[in-house]
Amino acid sequence: MNTKSLRFKIVDAFYIAMMILPIVFGIVLQVLTDPASEGITITGAKIFFEIPMPLQNFLITEAQVNSVIALTVIFFFCLFITHGLSEKIELKRQHFAEMIVEKVDGLVNENMGSYFSAYSPFIIAIMALSAVSSLLSLFGLFPPTSDINIVAGWAILVFILITYYKMKCGPIHYLKSFTEPVAFLTPLNVISEVATPISMAFRHYGNVLSGSVISALLCSALAGLSASLLSWLPGFLADMPILQVGIPAVLSIYLDVFSGLLQAFIFAMLTMLYIAGGFPAEEYEKRKARKRVEYKN
């Protein structure tokens, strides 16, 4: 493919536009639906509309819309960095794409073993979705990860995978694993099994939510401080919350960028550890060997 041709450049521009447009759409939606408010308000996700369903109304909330925005951004970003791949590297973005793939393959092989090496696309998908969702708060959008429903969905998905790999040696072996090391610890084992998705969901959700709560509190505190300190200034200067400029951004580097990326990494890391840890590798090998012998006979 000729990377200098006009057609290539038009497709590139289309991908870049499709990365930016969803975020612009989200900001426009936010501005249109958010009434101007006085002071601080800490609310959950806004509900845009409801679809009537037999059991319970299906709510389309801000969190869902924003996570679709994050999905679109990631999708077109992937298309963009893999656009124009070739054996002989012509574009700089190919180095970036290869670096991501190599890093994730290395991470998955290191933490999960070679049996799970096909898991790297899933791991990077969950990592990218979590990171981009948290980073949406940099644009003033509602981060979907500060809604428990979104994160709990991911945690339940991971829980299903964990249970699937625990059941690899048959349901009887799975149920027997609850009575170890002693039989009377069974209730505790069941509780700790159920606690896995709950703690994963709450860890991610609590971190992002606490970040946004602390930023909102700090903004209101700075507004009050500048109102009381600078009220002697003449004219409109007295009403302007000058201290609000810049200072929240410094805190936002930690609360939004660092915390969001760290939580994405930790969620992916725990996913890997739980899935690989739940798989009874030795038992599975024994079972496979026994089956092979039976098959030969």
């Binding site: 703690s199 709450f202 860890r203 609590g206 939510l209 606490s210």
Partner: protein, 95 residues
């Protein structure tokens, strides 16, 4: 009626404050983790990357109990008062 609502709001605020006592635990735990990580880096500066990654993982896991308390406190401040006042009004209107 006003007194009852006042008691509900006050108790919710007190409960939220008490729930955040749980923040002590993760604070001490993470402090210990970072102190040990600093020692380890001081002993073996070449293993800085691995130690830092492991420490951040451990810190994030240790933070979970504090975050449970945070979630309870946020529920007590923003969600519980409305529900409890609604229940109170309903009960009084039934009498």
């Amino acid at each position: 009626m006003e007194l009852a609502i006042g008691i509900i709001l006050g108790c919710c605020a007190l409960g939220a404050g008490m729930a955040m006592i749980a923040g002590i635990g993760p604070g001490i735990g993470e402090g210990n983790a970072v102190a040990k990580a600093c020692e380890a880096i001081g002993r073996q500066p070449e293993s800085k990357g691995a130690v830092t990654t492991t420490m951040l993982m451990g810190c994030a896991v240790a933070e979970t109990t504090g975050l449970y308390a945070l979630v309870i406190a946020i529920l007590l401040i923003f969600v519980a008062p409305n529900i409890l006042v609604d229940i109170l009004v309903e009960t009084i209107s039934k009498l």
